[in-house]
Symmetry: C2
Amino acid sequence: MVQQMQVRDINSEKEETMESVIELESRIEELKKQQLSLDLTRGKPGPEQLDLAANMFTCVDAGNYSAGSVDTRNYGGLDGIAEAKTLFAAYLGVNEDEVIIGGNSSLALMYDTVSQLMTHGTAGGGEPWFGKKTKFVCPVPGYDRHFTVCEHFGIEMVTVPMNEDGPDIDAIAQLVENDDEFRGMWCVPRFSNPTGYTCSPEVIQKLAEMKTAYSDFVILWDDAYAVHHHGAGPDSLESLLEACKKAGNPERVILFGSTSKISLAGAGLAVTGGSRNTCDWMRKRLFAQTIGYDKINMLRHVRFFKDLDGIMAHMDRHAAIVGPKFAAVEEVLSNELENGGIASWTKPRGGYFISLDTEKGMAGKIVKLAGELGVKLTPAGSTFPYKNDPDDRNLRIAPTFPGLEDVRKAAEVLAVCIKYVYVKENTGGI
Amino acid sequence: MVQQMQVRDINSEKEETMESVIELESRIEELKKQQLSLDLTRGKPGPEQLDLAANMFTCVDAGNYSAGSVDTRNYGGLDGIAEAKTLFAAYLGVNEDEVIIGGNSSLALMYDTVSQLMTHGTAGGGEPWFGKKTKFVCPVPGYDRHFTVCEHFGIEMVTVPMNEDGPDIDAIAQLVENDDEFRGMWCVPRFSNPTGYTCSPEVIQKLAEMKTAYSDFVILWDDAYAVHHHGAGPDSLESLLEACKKAGNPERVILFGSTSKISLAGAGLAVTGGSRNTCDWMRKRLFAQTIGYDKINMLRHVRFFKDLDGIMAHMDRHAAIVGPKFAAVEEVLSNELENGGIASWTKPRGGYFISLDTEKGMAGKIVKLAGELGVKLTPAGSTFPYKNDPDDRNLRIAPTFPGLEDVRKAAEVLAVCIKYVYVKENTGGI
């Protein structure tokens, strides 16, 4: 289980163990002099991770562009080349007729899916959502771009806590059982953004079986970090699709995945899947939307990774780069903050983020101060719908892009800022 | 100007000049024996055209993936890399802040635009179209995939003739001036699909200036064949965007273009453009839809073509391959049909199609007979909304994909089928 340090009560004990305001101000002055320019804002792979995929550029060329009998250079192939479907069916854990290969953006597949729900209704035949009051359950903290899609389409977002075993299933059931305006929910089920939590079998079972007032309730299951571990291998995840089928709700889940953080961030492959009926429903849209996605890039992925084992081996190489960066943040934060009891943070085994909670009302001030010291943090509130963290306490730390020493330095700056804001807040404001 | 042979009146004279039923049946038997398998259905480039872009595979590799300071491998760049914007602004004939670079499909950009109009209203601030009766003007014969987009979104299509100087502007004005349910129109303005016609300056002027009952009327201007000539260079085309700006209707036009038939059909670049306000409007959608399109593929295009002259030089090489195929069809049809006066067809200077009109009620029968002889033709009606050619007379011929000799053979089969169906229809039915 992910361990999480609990926020302790404010008491005199921890102030004794922490530096004084004067000591912290002295460190801040030191840090200012270093004129840092570090960025912990986005979950981007670092250049050395992208270098791992160097052979993707050349594994398909003007002499070997065929996938079976398909000339990947030409038009056609609405839902992907067969070889890519085989590979990514295994990746998603579905049958080969339950997967569709997209372009370079899983966000685009998710957006397009919500758009289709708005204008064309559900895979189960439900009416278009446009013009009807629609609410989504959003586990928080969560992925800002999921929330942006909802906001774009005027879908009201209602939050539930993201717990260590997945989204708070009792809170969800309470909402969706009684209110048919709840038409769907988001979930990053594995190494979740930003907490790193993974859904337990029990949560998955309940998501599949729960009663919903809206009969075509849809779970957008964004398994964005399916194989993105930090050294100990990916967490296992039960198949929500299988559970939904067994529960008699085969169209309840739509799966999404992406190789953006496996191959090349801007030129990966996005994939989506679900029941055969769900895939047929998606192909209806696709037929109107495109002649087909980039098959050459599909073939690059098939050639480069060969099979699921190839992806797994590749992700071990990613872990060797990413793992130490997460360990560095953990080490610095532990050393700087553990005795203070003024913040809690996740210790993820995979994914791209650490989620850190300060005491209430401090996140915005910490982000501002860190910025003044040359460390860019994701704006406070970003992990909540409408960018509104009601407690102003959650920070998302993205340590993958900078080099290891920069990550260590940025973590130090963050820790100093957390302590300084805490001390100032508790001694009369900053 | 494109020359078009006129259908003559049915009279005894032309039957004298044509083969008898017995002669035609003998030719049909001969053709059957050849067990042909030829395909004139889709506007796909042939393999030798795709070979022209062989260096696109290798012009970006693991050692030279940067576009200026941008690592094209990583995330970001919502509307395209600067170098691609420079190139395709020139290509579209717009300013660099009036272009957005997309993925591999201009159809997807068009679909997404219509989808945005449905759910989010117009660039000019008009209300969403969803739930409101919406009609589009559709020049015919036209591009089937445009019609599919309308059908998908429940937009009623009303046809006007596509004339040699562009869509029938008087017919359009008549419709849109008086009926505010007309919210938009499609147009392939240059080397149009399937007629090969190009809009005259007068038509463009009138499209920009015409009064529309619906104030946010939008022209989806799909310049799909901007540089796709057959040997004599591209037709010139006045800028509809400039004309619209001058007429005080800067948001009336949205431009689309694609390199699918320039570089690689399945892995080209799609581009869109319009006024700065229109581009801002599109970026609002894009921000919710994606982190960014494939920048590596943008860089491939920039490296391979360098500039607009590079594209032009490349299209001369395409013309050297495509031109003779169109000439072969023209030669065969002229030899076989010119004296009969039973069909008319376009003689395009560019684009991917020949549009052929038979006499009424014959197109479907000709397609069926040709299929029995091993020549696949686009289904009759495909060039009309709802696949309904009210006269059942239009055939779309796509001669680019097969080899030159196959094109010649397919044209012969087509001509024999046209003659046979004609003779049989006029001597008691087939």
